[in-house]
Amino acid sequence: MSAGLFDKYSSLKRNYDSLMAASPRNPFGVVIECPLSATVGIIEGRETLLFGTNNYLGLSQSKMARDAAIHTAETMGVGTTGSRIANGTFGLHQKLEQALAGVFHKKHAMVFSTGYQANLGTISALVNKDDTLFLDADSHASIYDGARLSGAQVIRFRHNDPVDLEKRIARTDKTPGARLIIAEGIYSMTGNIAPLDKFVEVKKRHNVPLMVDEAHSFGVLGDHGRGVAEMQGCEKDIDFIVGTFSKSLGTVGGYCVTDHDEIDLMRLCSRPYMFTASLPPEIIAATLAALEEIKNRPELRQKLQDNAARLHHGFKSVGLNTSNFISPVIAVTLENIPQAITFWNALLDAGVYVNLSLPPATPDNRPLLRCSVMAAHSTEEIDQAVETFGVIAKKLNLV
């Protein structure tokens, strides 16, 4: 008899059941009933501090973006009902692409319906089965999935390690296919920042193009908020920058910017670009408004940095184990899953929402309490989060 569809889930189900038995609430099912502001939402009927979003600049609640979306929905409607290749491009798609190219000082931009699709669509348009990809070992799932969709040979290099990357590239210097290196700016789980300037040196020595996903770093790092490449002064050597609208820009969608004129060919062979509906007009209008705010309000970035430093310093001072990078993603590493489940539930009981990240979705097999900081957090909110973490850590004998 052939197997049932869900037979393969037996071990997943065992793990899920034991997680549910250990946790008073489902960590994958938290309901934010209603956000009251960028930093406070109603969870389980109570006002809860939000330290588990990607809303780094608080722009999901931007007045300018909301007004732009409302006006556009009223004048243009709420959807495009089709793909740009088959059903047509709206003027707003082009306007957004021009705006993004302008922000990054690149010749071209291509927008996608999500950041996930931006990675799938860019990677699968750039490489195929005859080519070789070099991925940071801790790459986001969308990069791994894009690699699979492309059919290229995938070689992982050690996380943030330019020496290891170079060793692996050198082994393929004589292979005939094209090659592409992919890294991220800020890593979403740990907040680690990539040494892109060092990767650029490697790419130049071996003549391999470099693509960078600045999903978490756009709007956050660099003098103008263009990300890690801007901060490290190596933007002109990044061949393709990919990103998302769903984090600092507060909406939804993704993009790729580049100086390569072949971008119009990429549009014709990128399935995640072609075979899905394009971004709706009100989302584009809100994103354009958010881009303007990022440009015109550099103080948001400064406040975010100050807040990130305050939370990071606070966690260190109460003895928690965090990464040494000061970035708006700050992960507290714990030793085992039961500890992480207890800690996470206690935080939510005390009115602080963070993300519970469990292996294998974490880099080194240990669970993380992933916290993210916003420019919109007040110092009191940050101090309250630090104090809550400290009290719980002490109660659990972790510090």
Partner: protein, 84 residues
């Protein structure tokens, strides 16, 4: 000099046994996921260590067909021969 499949298999077993969580009674026929309880990430990370020792890179799609330690040894041997 190219290591034989048996040499590589031996090397893999030695490396695995350095990890105290790995069962002591493993052999070349042990299945990596089922018998060693490695998840997909653990397999990829372990292969990285072996890659360093043998100075080869194993593309991820090659890992999809590998079930046992001997399968991995055969794969590494093949790649090393290609690279030589």
């Amino acid at each position: 000099m190219t290591d034989s499949v048996a040499d590589i298999s031996h090397l893999i077993l030695q490396k695995l046994l350095e990890n105290p969580k790995v069962p002591r009674d493993i052999s070349g026929d042990s299945r990596i996921v089922e018998d060693l309880a490695f998840d997909s990430l653990a397999v990829m990370n372990f292969v990285m260590e072996i890659e360093d020792t043998l100075d080869v890179s194993v593309p991820l799609d090659k890992l999809a067909d590998i079930r046992t330690i001997n399968d991995l040894a055969v794969c590494l041997h093949g790649i090393k021969a290609e690279q030589a």
